[in-house]
């Protein structure tokens, strides 16, 4: 059940108060809101803006600048595949094409059943065991086509 607007406003208020006293608190606040809701609900913007005494446009601009922040919920699982050079040298482009075909979606899209969101990432620091992936925050190295299939099967269970 989705929480009501009043509930979410209260939760956002709690998050904001927990960050009072930090210098430049907007990024930690946005991370916390996204951790709580899975994305940054549009309702949150005016609440955050008023509490931090900045404009809604500023909050919106910051959300839009960073790749991590979502304005829509993601799928139940997020599969991030590294697209950077060290992974390219080990066939990441080929593996990514396989993942897109297997899931039937492109980058930044979610499968119709809501199970998996596919995202590119630029470097997970796993460049000596490339290609690399991050599945719901869990690191995976030496990702080939078979490993992608196994990961997809695992998150679809």
């Amino acid at each position: 059940m989705t929480p009501g607007i009043a509930d979410s406003a209260e939760q956002i208020g709690d998050i904001l108060r927990a960050h009072d006293g930090l210098e430049g608190p907007l990024l930690p606040v946005l991370h916390a809101v996204q951790a709580a809701f899975g994305y940054i609900p549009g309702d949150a913007l005016p609440v955050i803006a008023q509490h931090l005494n900045i404009s809604r446009a500023e909050v919106h601009g910051v959300i839009g600048f960073y790749h991590d922040f979502r304005e829509e919920p993601a799928g139940r699982h997020v599969l991030k595949l590294c697209r950077a050079e060290a992974c390219q040298a080990m066939g990441a482009d080929r593996v990514a094409a396989h993942a897109r075909d297997a899931l039937g979606i492109g980058w930044h899209q979610t499968t119709p059943d809501g199970a998996v969101t596919l995202e590119p990432v630029f470097c997970l620091g796993l460049c000596a065991c490339a290609p690399a992936a991050l599945v719901d925050g869990r690191v995976v190295g030496r990702v080939d086509e078979a490993r992608v299939d196994a990961l997809i099967a695992e998150v679809r269970l």
Partner: protein
Amino acid sequence: MRIYVPLDSAAKALGAQEVVAAVKAEALRRGLEVTVVRNGSRGMVWLEPLLEVDSAAGRMAFGPVGPGDVAGLFDAGFGAHAKALGPTEDLPWMKAQTRLTFARCGVIDPLSLEDYQAHGGLTGLRRALGMTPDAIVAEVTDSGLRGRGGAGFPTGIKWKTVAGATADRKYIVCNADEGDSGTFADRMIMEGDPFTLIEGMVIAGLGVGANTGFIYSRSEYPDANAVLADAIRLARAFGLLGASVLGLGPAFDIELRIGAGAYVCGEETALLNSLEGKRGVVRAKPPLPALEGFMGRPTVVNNVISLATVPVIFERGASFYRDFGLGRSRGTIPLQIAGNVRRGGLFETAFGMPLGTIVDDLAGGTATGRPVKAVQVGGPLGAYFPRALFDTPFGYEDYAQKGGLIGHAGIVVFDDSADMLAQARFAMEFCAIESCGKCTPCRIGAVRGVETVDRIARGDAAAIPLLADLCETMKAGSLCALGGFTPYPVMSALTHFPDDFHTSAKEAAE
């Protein structure tokens, strides 16, 4: 019995968690008393998960270990086994290194301050606590330490500028936004020896008169962030951080902040904006961050490796550190060997090693067994080096002379199946995706760059001089290294691998 299995992300990515579970299950089944220590990585990623066991002859290594090997290792009493490698310290990769910054990484429990101190930790800080701020800054200047993030600016001079500034508050900001592909030294030290970074930041605070530190890390590093958060908590409980450093010095505390997936925030002024809660847009310099940095106050912005190297400089002395290296590149550099290599990982050595030695001897050539075609040094903004330049010694100036840069010392190897036109296109595409948008040559130029490379791919040779011209404009007209250095990979690909640009032209004509 003590068994070591790294908590390092690379080890985890290759199955370390499963190995630990198997070790614990096997010990329980056999009724054996086993302590599992989660150490950092030794840096031999091709041997991960690398399991080690304490023995009378020192730590014995086994690797790469899978969960299926564990029962057999117990059967063999952790002696003769197909995965046995002998004493860890005797492995050629370990013996050939000069591990100063990474001396403890992989050896100790990263979250044990007792282990940390038993291996020289806090010795440097205790010495610094007895020194004047001027002497602390002078020690760093004398060591010859330069910014390990890539810019290579002398760390001591930066500290001196901040120390000399007058302000009600000053800050130490650790740039842990290690976004360059092929680099993982920051991640490894944050996971494997986080207290050395904390100690380095505390010494920086003493030197310049700052009481607050920030570590700006990446959301792409969940494991490193978890270790750092624990380390900061433990450092506070111990009194290393807090109202008085070790009960002897002034106050110093550290806050961990996490970025949100913007590559450009690895640039120091974009990082400062991000830290202030703004869009990660690059600032014009001057004013220098050293004078007007975080919240407009004097701020030291140093890379993780620069700060993590400070403790050993104070422990062993500036001249000890300075005696390693060549020319104006003093001390050691943690090389990160990655991509298509037989042996990938981290290798810390004095500056000066030729690229060919790194690629052919250390890395052992490509993982695919095909010939090496190109080596990108210094991340996505670094140049592609052909074999003809393999005699280049590893140093800031030496690489600059060859139209490249050492960056954060990431070395990415490609075999002969690499299409350098595609790599040039990717460099432009990456710049277009990650540009903060402040400078037109970067924001628009990168988009035009992708289109121009596509024209060349379609056989339009007239677009080649256009691409060179565009690169000149980006180089001269961008405030930061993203727009300014994207021409390095593009132009080096074009200069050193012209066939990849002309072959496609021929193919198109046919």
